[in-house]
């Protein structure tokens, strides 16, 4: 079997290889096409789009739609552009990612290295939050936020995202730490390191790959979330995704498609950036977890 497979690889002719690459390029283009269209149309004057030439390259290049989307476009009733909401999203996503990842790491550490009665049950319940449809929790959550007096604020959103991010971040770290030798923890105990010292000095420094996975996963989910944002943080506290919707659906005046495209790219920008910068860590981290586990 393997010998045959190897021969296959060696014998793959030039033409076959060209075919493979062509197919791959076609697929890549297929996936990139919508993004390409967005970019093209975001640097066109509106008139060129309304004439019906969506696919064509701009006759006249302009960055005005970008500037408008960023700082002057009508969002709902205010002509603020997306900027304040972009800031909202950053202010929401960064702490939410940091807190849910940190808690997930500690949870994973406890669930694997400090086993207690009922640990499996608690882990099961945490996992539940990974798969629960979020519509179900909207109303109870609204009530909780109301009681805590943080309804409609970015703090409220941070809390919601931390709570619902915890399931996945715990899952990631639990599986990663399950493959982490218990003897290391025991050795550290004999050396005199306590609970947090072991975590800080030994577990965490070895957790690079899974930290990357968890941060990317959480950031993408939290940044892209629309449901919670629309439900719990309307008005000036709204995150980017909600304000993008408001931009597109603003009822006054003409529909500025080029501005919408620019806004959409702005909204997608951070997650794209994260994938481009840290994507390979993501793959590597997932591999590390799965292979070792």
């Amino acid at each position: 079997m393997t010998v045959a497979a190897q021969e296959n690889i060696v014998r793959t002719s030039q033409s076959v290889r060209v075919g493979i690459y062509l197919a791959l390029i076609v697929f890549a283009l297929f996936y990139l096409l919508p993004f390409g269209i967005m970019v093209i149309n975001s640097v066109k004057p509106l008139i060129e789009i309304t004439e019906g030439n969506m696919i064509a390259l701009p006759r006249e290049w302009t960055i005005d739609p970008w500037l408008s989307a960023w700082s002057t476009a009508q969002i709902g009733v205010e002509p603020t552009g997306l900027r304040p909401y972009f800031v909202n999203s950053i202010v929401m996503a960064l702490p939410a990612v940091a807190i849910s990842t940190a808690l997930g790491a500690i949870n994973g550490y406890i669930l694997t290295k400090w086993q207690f009665r009922g640990a499996t049950l608690i882990f099961g319940l945490l996992l539940f939050s990974c798969f629960i449809p979020f519509q179900i929790v909207l109303i109870p959550m609204a009530r909780v936020l109301g009681v805590l007096n943080i309804a409609g604020t970015t703090y409220g959103l941070i809390l919601v995202h931390v709570v619902y991010g915890l399931g996945f971040s715990t899952l990631f770290f639990r599986n990663f730490y399950a493959a982490f030798p218990n003897e290391l923890v025991r050795a550290a105990q004999i050396d005199g390191a306590g609970f947090f010292r072991i975590f800080w000095r030994i577990m965490l420094p070895s957790s690079g790959p899974i930290l990357a996975v968890c941060c990317i996963w959480q950031f993408t989910n939290i940044w892209n979330d629309f449901l919670f944002g629309a439900s719990f943080a309307s008005g000036s506290a709204a995150p980017m995704t909600v304000s993008l919707n408001n931009l597109v659906n603003s009822s006054t005046g003409v529909r500025e498609y080029n501005v919408h495209f620019a806004g959409a790219i702005l909204a997608a920008g951070p997650t794209l950036l994260v994938y481009i910068i840290a994507g390979r860590y993501f793959v590597r981290g997932l591999m590390a977890g799965s292979v070792k586990g």
């Binding site: 025991r186 050795a187 550290a188 390191a193 070895s206």
Partner: protein, 374 residues
């Protein structure tokens, strides 16, 4: 009072009892080896001494101080793990001094201690490497360094050599032995390798099913096993246990065994105290080296029995040749010198050293009497 006292220690996991009333007294500077088959509770006992598991019943004392409930880091013990358990994110030097750092030892003193240990173990040139850049033997040394640097009262080793290849294992075994001789430290060492147990220990505790089967010097364990388990577990090839019947004859008491052709042979015990067993079945314990050819037989022996038996298989093993044959309805092994000229199916005269024979009750599995010799 010993240096390390284990008094009636039991351990249960829920309803599963894995250690039953273990009593062991270890003197200062002693090298105690815990040996036994997989799952017999060796690691568990070691973990109890280390404080990594809670003691269910009984108490453990080090230097007359009860250490039940004392945190592992406060017991002044050090442990070397089977997997070495080196912290992957730290350099060798940091690995070795981590414990000192946790105990608030100043950086300067840590450096001095590190240099000393590194020199002792010849790992000076590795101090800046990460564990994954080390070979198995080097990791082993670093793990020992981490234990040594703390200058503990008791060293605990849990199968430290089992991850090494055969040759390196022998080298490291010698090295551990030397280290023990030079430093005179008290060591409790777990292994399931009985050669390691024999060569390293000053005393051996043979364990099975959570009980200490026998505690004694290697020689005691080898020559005077107290039960069938110890007799067959220690020694390679294992001790032969030949079903025999006791016959009290006029010229002395003998063990009657059947040979390859069904003929019965009488092996004199050379002692009178087996008379009371007249007509009863026993298991006659003979180590392979006690069954040999006439020339190799122990000249100091008072009591050599001679039998003729048919050779079934010969297995040259370099320094010796092992021969199997039928006796008492079982296949037994004899150990001959390597250049012996024998062939399968040949009927060959064997000399049996009955001085060192040990006798077991086949029902209870325990030794019937003290050995005649010694």
């Amino acid at each position: 009072m010993g240096f390390l006292n284990i008094n009636g220690v039991s351990k249960s996991y829920g309803s599963l009892k894995v250690l039953h009333g273990i009593d062991i007294e270890v003197e200062e500077g002693e090298f105690l080896v815990l040996v036994g088959p997989s799952g017999c509770g060796k690691s568990t006992l070691l973990n109890l001494i280390a404080g990594l598991e809670d003691i269910t019943d009984g108490e453990i004392l080090i230097r007359d101080r009860v250490i039940n409930g004392v945190h592992p880091s406060e017991r002044n013990i050090a442990m070397v793990f089977q997997s070495y358990a080196l912290y992957p994110n730290m350099t060798v030097g940091q690995n070795i001094t981590f414990g000192l750092e946790m105990h608030g030892v100043s950086k300067k003193e840590r450096k001095i201690a590190l240099d000393e240990v590194a020199k002792l173990l010849r790992i000076e040139n590795l101090l800046h490497r990460k564990p994954k850049q080390l070979s198995g033997g080097q990791r082993q040394r670093v793990a020992m360094g981490r234990a040594l640097v703390r200058n503990p009262d008791v060293f605990l080793f849990d199968e430290p050599l089992s991850n090494l290849d055969a040759k390196l294992r022998v080298d490291m075994r010698t090295e551990i032995k030397k280290l023990h001789q030079n430093l005179g430290t008290t060591i409790v060492y777990v292994t399931h390798d009985q050669i390691e147990a024999m060569t390293l220990s000053s005393r051996i505790a043979v364990m099975n099913d959570g009980y200490v089967q026998q505690l004694g010097t290697p020689k005691e364990i080898y020559d005077n096993p107290q039960n069938i388990f110890v007799a067959t577990f220690m020694g390679s090839p294992a001790m032969n246990l030949i079903p025999a019947i006791v016959r009290a004859l006029d010229d002395g008491t003998v063990a009657e065994i059947s040979l390859y052709d069904g003929s019965l042979e009488h092996l004199p015990f050379g002692r009178a105290d087996m008379n009371s067993w007249d007509g009863r079945e026993i298991l006659l314990g003979l180590r392979p080296e006690m069954i040999t050819d006439e020339e190799s037989a122990d000249r100091k022996s008072q009591n050599i029995a001679r039998i003729k038996n048919r050779i079934e298989v010969t297995e040259p093993a370099g320094s010796d040749t092992f021969i199997s044959m039928q006796a008492g309805g079982k296949s037994i092994v004899a150990r001959m010198k390597s250049d012996i000229d024998v062939k399968p199916d040949q009927v060959f005269p064997f000399a049996i050293n009955m001085d060192k024979a040990v006798i077991f009750d086949p029902v209870e599995g325990i030794r019937i009497q003290a050995n005649i010799s010694s």
